[in-house]
């Protein structure tokens, strides 16, 4: 992307999809500001992207969505009107006052002027008061929403704290077999790249070794490392939200034993493995 030449089409496509890095995005944006040719090309690409967007499978609107929208624009209009209405009313009051003042004329008419001004100011203040009241109501609603969301976040944090607390005891209830086999349970949301793993009854390993979790992509690409971990004295361990890319459909998950720093490719044997039983999202 050089200042004196046009932006390559492929970079413009990525720019239109906000798929460039921030630096590249800024460079393209600066060029577009001065280049009509590239702006025209970008507009064409936007047309292409509109086509891609419209290829999305169509779904019916959620129940009540239309009513919620109409209510919102109705409330918006009501929220704008108080000041306008007050001003309109104040203008009417002024004109009525003017009409009344026309009979006595001269100095009596002049005497009405400050009163009409006061009346107009009072009505404007009244209008502003209504506006302020509506703003306060909205503020209270937002505060309630935030409080509700904070409660949900707090609950999520508590769940995570319990799952990951060093002092947590992990108890597996079984039908009485003397020594349960190692096992792990993974929860995975491919679209978000979110993964939580809870393992039990893992065998202890040397200090120079670690367990490592792997996501095996469904598209046949190389396994993606998804976190290293060591079991506690009871053989329990967890991996919570490791840094993995979003959007990877998983064919399977595996756990291997690797050098303490972890590996970029799994070392056989795979000590635990499992495949998703459903497509999830």
């Amino acid at each position: 992307m050089i200042e004196n030449t046009h932006i390559p089409q492929q970079d413009l496509s990525l720019y239109a999809m906000q798929a460039l890095s921030l630096d590249e995005q800024a460079a393209v944006k600066a060029h577009l500001g001065a280049c009509e040719t590239c702006r025209a090309e970008l507009a064409l690409i936007m047309g292409d992207l509109a086509l891609v967007a419209m290829s999305a499978e169509q779904h019916p609107l959620p129940e009540g969505a239309r009513e919620r929208f109409l209510e919102r624009i109705g409330a918006d209009r009501a929220g704008v009107d108080p000041i306008g209405s007050a001003l309109a009313v104040s203008q009417k009051v002024v004109s009525i006052a003017d009409g009344l003042a026309q009979k006595p004329r001269t100095r009596r008419a002049a005497a009405w002027i400050p009163w009409t001004a006061v009346a107009a100011l009072l009505l404007v203040a009244f209008g502003l008061g209504i506006k302020l009241h509506l703003a306060n109501i909205e503020l209270e609603q937002q505060a309630a929403r935030l409080a509700s969301e904070a409660g949900v976040n707090q609950r999520a944090r508590e769940v995570l704290d319990v799952l990951t607390a060093p002092a947590a005891q992990h108890i597996l209830l079984t039908a009485g077999s003397p020594r349960p086999a190692p096992s792990a349970r993974a929860v995975y949301v491919a679209s978000r790249g979110a993964l939580v793993l809870e393992a039990s009854n893992l065998a202890q390993i040397d200090s120079g070794k670690t367990y490592e979790l792997w996501v095996i992509p469904a598209n046949g690409k190389a396994p993606i490392p998804a976190g290293i971990f060591r079991p506690d004295a009871a053989g329990s361990a967890s991996v919570v939200l490791p840094q993995i890319p979003a959007g990877v459909e998983a064919k399977a998950f595996g756990i291997t034993i690797e050098p303490a720093a972890g590996s970029s490719a799994p070392t056989l044997p795979i000590v635990l493995a499992g495949a998703p039983t459903s497509a999830g999202e």
């Binding site: 046009h6 999809m17 292409d48 967007a53 419209m54 290829s55 959620p62 959007g247």
Partner: protein, 202 residues
């Protein structure tokens, strides 16, 4: 740059609006421009008509990206509210209202998905041609044509367009995730869009 500056939507408009060639594509009673003018006059009925016409499409695009109905509805409600609040941001020459709404819906949904601030003000989104896709029949035909073409692309190319467009991944993220070189990702996405443009022109 592009040798052929024509927009892919134009031939469709010609073919669908030519009456005898497309008897099923009835012109809507009120055009988009008239409805936007109504919104400029603070006409709630005009705004409701725009919502009725495009609400489902905008919601579906947002849902495709976010996969959560509540979040998709939030995006949809906000976009239409912005149309209501600042209808001047959509002016003649900015492209079809349908296309504009579809692109803004995708961008806003990706912003939510990536937990980032709205990146582009709506007034910066501009499409090349003012094309009439206001009738359901026209949009449905267009959607089907696009879907059919996208299905014909090689699987890798489909995946990369989907990752960039609906998952909002950057080209470097796509390259890292798929193991495909950066330059190849760029080329495939661009060629997919070009072939799509040619397909709807055909």
């Amino acid at each position: 740059m592009t040798e052929d500056p024509s927009n892919p939507l134009e031939p469709l408009e010609r073919s669908l609006n030519s009456g005898s060639t497309s008897p099923g594509s009835a012109e809507p009673e009120t055009g988009d421009a008239a409805l936007i003018n109504g919104v400029l006059q603070r006409d709630q009925a005009a705004m409701a008509a725009i919502f009725d016409r495009y609400g489902r499409m905008v919601y579906s695009v947002a849902l495709r990206v976010l996969k959560e109905p509540a979040a998709a509805e939030d995006v949809m409600q906000q976009i239409f509210f912005e149309v209501w609040e600042t209808p001047r941001n959509f002016v003649a020459g900015r492209g079809s209202l349908a296309g504009w709404l579809a692109v803004v819906a995708r961008n806003r949904a990706v912003d939510v998905l990536r937990r980032r601030k709205p990146s582009d003000p709506v007034e910066e989104v501009e499409l090349a041609a003012d094309t009439n896709l206001a009738a359901d029949a026209e949009r449905n035909i267009m959607m089907e044509k696009v879907r059919t073409h996208l299905d014909t692309l090689p699987r890798d190319q489909q995946d990369q367009v989907q990752l960039a467009f609906f998952e909002g991944l950057s080209h470097s993220e796509i390259s890292a995730q798929t193991g495909v070189p950066l330059g190849t990702v760029k080329t495939r996405i661009r060629s997919a869009l070009i072939s799509l443009r040619e397909a709807v022109q055909a």
